[in-house]
Amino acid sequence: MRKIYMDYSATTPLHPEVIALMTDVMKNVFGNPSSLHSFGREAKKYLDEARQKVADLIGAKFEEIYFTGGGTEADNIAVFGTAYAHRKKGKHIITSAVEHHAVLDSCAKLAKSGFEVTFLPVDQYGMVDPEQVKKEIRSDTILISIMHANNETGTIQPIEEISKIAKEHDVFFHTDCVQSVGKIPVNVDKLGADLITLSSHKIYGPKGVGALYKRKGVRVEPLFYGGGQERKIRSGTENTLGIIGFGKAAEIAVREFDIENTRVKGLRDRLIKGVLEKIPDVRLNGHPEKRLPNNAHFSFAYVEGESLLLSLDMKGIAVSSGSACSSSSLQPSHVLTASGLPQELVHGSVRFTLGRENTEEDVDYVLSVLPGIVERFRSFSPLVGRKTV
């Protein structure tokens, strides 16, 4: 059966060049980068190369990149690490209601242990208002954490404005760029953040590897302790193979930035146009323009998302959904809920995120299959005819 992957925001396949390098490294580089002998020095050299490449991806300095065991871990170091390192300065943290759980749940945990957290609301597009950030800043605010682009809706936040406000008030600013990097420009100086989260597996690198950008001079506490690797920020023998793959993926993301994103955006626009034309009672979620170039996120009235997802899967098409049923926690998407979407449309949401291997034929295939599936579920939905927003 024809297989079409349109869930690139969940994870990506390894880029062929990443596979090639990792295959070589698996056979030829195995030392512990902390070892002084030739095997260790060789591994260290590869590690340093990868660090430089990830630094280059976001215009950072070599020594500002700290490798972690994934984006989740980097988010947590940014949130807990900043909070604990600066708790003498204050106990107030500002974040948004649409952050990834890695930020949201670490903030919630802090709120239970003596910190105070403001979860900013968002507008119908899932957008944070910088003015509101400014209003919420208090004298004891130590950290603002707002993601660059949302993993569900693809909405891009006004990060430059928010970071300017943070700087004016002398508050640390963290932004989760897991979804944005490689898809829209991410430059540490332009964004003006003190801390940035990256993850390898969203840019065609391996899973279980991430990085924290930490501007020189910003102090954070580690989440755990041990051999003091990554200059004490992330102890534990380095995932050399994964990091080397991440480095390669970063290099490719720079090189193919323009051509790939232009191409993918064209496909994505074709998909949105087709869906809105061919299917009635559909809503495009997220911001109409300020969104990631590969993201198309819809709510199909009267139909439940997991059912759509499974039916598409049976036709070989892989997507994700914000419905409660399709999440392991059985909670419907907090992002869509915060954006004011009515429950029914939250449960009826489907995310298409496109990438390297998608073609125009893929989009047309989806457009040939999707209307029938939606129609079929609507034919036995008890909600059809009831008022929805």
């Binding site: 419905s323 059985l330 036995f380 008890p382």
Partner: protein, 122 residues
């Protein structure tokens, strides 16, 4: 995630739709958990001559509704009242643990429909 029996009922749900002149209608579930199931019954001589269902729900909900209608059809009202959500899940060869709670409501909807029918008998 789902076993082949569930997938079969999901792909080819039996008895979907409305019974326009139904004798009883029952609806369960709510949108906050994401599943709604509505059952229609046609009762003739104390027997369920026809059972249909509609659902807004996940794979488990679609399959449970389908299996329920198969189990209920032809049964007497008394027999039908004894069908449990668990019976439906078992007939489906089991549902994933996280689905048992929220999506396995078809028997409840049937019972509601039968009570609706009953209330109209008086």
């Amino acid at each position: 995630m789902y076993n082949p029996t569930v997938m079969d009922h999901f792909e080819n749900p039996r008895n979907v739709g409305e019974i326009p002149d139904a004798d009883g209608i029952g609806e369960v579930g709510n949108l906050s958990c994401g599943d709604i199931l509505k059952v229609y019954v046609k009762v003739v001589d104390g027997k369920l001559e026809d059972v249909k269902y509609q659902t807004f729900g996940c794979g488990a909900a679609v399959a449970s509704g389908s299996m329920l209608t198969e189990l209920a059809k032809g049964k007497t009202v008394e027999e039908a009242m004894k069908i449990t959500n668990n019976d439906v899940a078992e007939a489906l060869n089991g549902l994933p643990p996280q689905k048992r709670h929220c999506s396995n409501l078809a028997a409840d909807a049937l019972h509601k429909a039968l009570e609706d029918w009953r209330s109209k008998q008086k």
